[in-house]
């Protein structure tokens, strides 16, 4: 490998090399040479869908630098609209154009601090590779995986290697503790003694994590999802209202200046 790791996204003709239904989600393994090598937790990929002009943004759950198919990445798809339904239905061998990794990753602490990771639904996906990176840096990692119900809960089994503690929360109580992140965020942050809180999920989850972090004096990094037409920064179609470092209100591109931003910078009411 060259001294400097390759940076920036690539646009490649990828292929579905494995597909598996897990609960309410579809896990796809994509061969996408160039993307896994450049991946950092919190970045995402933009994929093409047959017959559609705009693209679909997906978090990266796992990367493998090498496999029988070359470098691959795993995504977790929840079938909702037309594009995610198409993706979920694709058999092994389907070609899909993949662009990535896109956007700004989670910022990693320089010191071995204590970190709380909170993820809801499929959006918990990027927290798993993040937990690994943090552990490699000697950070104490606590992980909270939440979901509306068991079918939409990502399995935290593998994360037990990287996380000191794992908490499972479901809104309907089907597994783990009953409840929503918003109701427990402050308690979770205090109990973990976290210096940094990382969150990924719907806006209410991110907001409660950011607010809890602020109350307890922790930093927060949130991975924001707003409707994203291209994912590459070209269309300016994914407005994310923030407060700039200079204190001035701005609207930035979620796909390029995000998706990960400091929680205290998001203007939640304008989102």
């Amino acid at each position: 490998m060259a001294d400097a790791p390759a940076r920036g996204p690539v646009h490649v003709d990828g292929e579905v090399v494995a597909t598996k239904k897990v609960g309410g989600y579809r896990h796809l393994t994509l061969a996408a040479p160039g993307v896994p090598e450049r991946f950092r937790p919190g970045t995402f990929v933009s994929v093409s869908v047959a017959g559609h002009v705009t693209r679909r943004a997906l978090w990266v759950h796992k990367v493998r630098a090498s496999s029988a198919f070359g470098p691959t990445l795993d995504v977790v798809v929840e079938s909702r609209g037309s594009g995610t339904a198409w993706l979920s239905a694709q058999p092994v061998g389907t070609r899909v154009a993949v662009t990535g990794p896109l956007g700004r990753p989670f910022a990693l602490p320089k010191q071995a601090v204590s970190c709380l990771l909170i993820g809801e639904g499929y959006a918990a996906a990027p927290l798993f590779p993040l937990a690994e990176r943090l552990r490699e840096r000697g950070c104490a990692v606590s992980l909270v995986v939440s979901a509306p119900d068991e079918a939409r809960l990502l399995s935290a089994l593998e994360a037990r290697r990287s996380a000191r503690s794992v908490t499972v929360l479901t809104a309907d109580g089907s597994v783990g503790q009953r409840g929503q992140v918003a109701d427990h965020a402050e308690d979770l942050v205090r109990r973990s003694g976290a210096d940094v809180v990382y969150a990924a999920g719907p806006a209410d989850v991110l907001r409660s994590a950011a607010v809890a972090a602020e109350r307890t004096g922790a930093w927060s990094q949130v991975a924001v999802e707003v409707p994203t037409p291209c994912g590459t920064g070209l269309c300016h179609g994914c407005p994310l209202p923030v407060v700039g470092e200079d204190g001035v209100d701005r609207v930035v591109r979620a796909c390029t200046e995000g998706p990960v931003v400091r929680g205290d910078r998001v203007r939640w009411d304008a989102l």
Binding site: G8, V10, H11, V53, C230, T232, G233, L234, G237, C238
Partner: protein
């Protein structure tokens, strides 16, 4: 050529520019206004069969910031920068043209007189060809005369020939035909329809202008996404094409078209 508003700040394209990189790429900036604009509220884009409806609201950092940061970066990278300008008043257009005329590295200007919804975007009302022409004349007066001024027109076949003639007489070097056509987002807000669905409409307008005004160079814009759709415009009389929406679907589109359109057709078919 990358169409206005569909190439980000230009910098993002470097990942998709191919072996030649950005050097020599013809790039039209998103429309730059005198003051910064944060753009429309979301959702800004809706997918429709054959294209998309967008109401982005011309988000841009304003002229000052553009001149200080984005332009120098693009010029250093070798990009041939055409700056698209939009204004709320005639004076703003003149001011933009004058200051961009003094900025090093600007290859030309594109005057956005064909926005699908100038009134909802707070732009100077240019629905009448006469108004569009007076904007072009003001821009031409202020912008150093050896560099091109492009007038970008709405692909409305009932007015486009008249608009092209008026803008050309007012000093436009070439006309860009066209822009997204007025449409509505699913929630009823005004927007513009672009993408493959727009191609036959814009093609009709390009053919009409080329036939009526053979001396006016025409740049085709609307739904170009592959070699065939680009060649259709060239066959209808366009001297070149711009690519917008297709860049959002595949950011390598312009790099690929640049490579194939430089080849004579028979070689590429081989």
């Amino acid at each position: 050529m990358v169409a206005s508003g569909c190439g980000g700040t230009g910098r993002e394209l470097s990942a998709y520019a191919g072996p030649e990189g950005l050097d020599g790429l013809d790039f039209v900036t998103r429309s730059i206004t005198l003051d910064a604009r944060s753009g429309a509220r979301g959702p800004r884009v809706a997918e429709v069969p054959g294209g998309l409806v967008s109401a982005v609201g011309l988000p841009n950092p304003g002229l000052e910031h553009f001149l200080a940061t984005e332009l120098p970066w693009l010029v250093r990278a070798g990009v041939r920068v055409v700056v698209s300008i939009a204004g709320a008043t005639m004076g703003e257009y003149a001011d933009l043209a004058g200051r961009l005329g003094r900025a090093p590295g600007v290859v030309g200007l594109e005057v956005n007189v064909g926005a699908p919804d100038e009134t909802s975007d707070g732009l100077y009302e240019v629905r009448e060809p006469y108004h569009a022409a007076s904007v072009v004349a003001a821009v031409r007066r202020e912008f150093a005369s050896d560099r091109p001024v492009l007038a970008k027109l709405r692909p409305d076949v009932s007015r486009v020939v008249e608009g092209a003639r008026a803008c050309h007489e007012a000093g436009a070097t070439a006309v860009v035909v066209g822009n997204a056509v007025p449409a509505a987002l699913p929630d009823g807000r005004p927007g513009g329809l672009s993408g493959p669905a727009l191609a036959p409409i814009a093609l009709r307008c390009v053919a009409a202008v080329s036939r009526a005004l053979p001396a006016v160079p025409v740049i085709g814009c609307g739904g170009v996404h592959d070699v065939d759709s680009a060649r259709a415009y060239l066959a209808a009389g366009a001297t070149s094409v711009q690519v917008g929406t297709a860049m959002l679907h595949d950011p390598t589109t312009v790099a690929r078209l640049r490579a194939s359109l430089d080849q004579p057709p028979h070689q590429e078919d081989a």
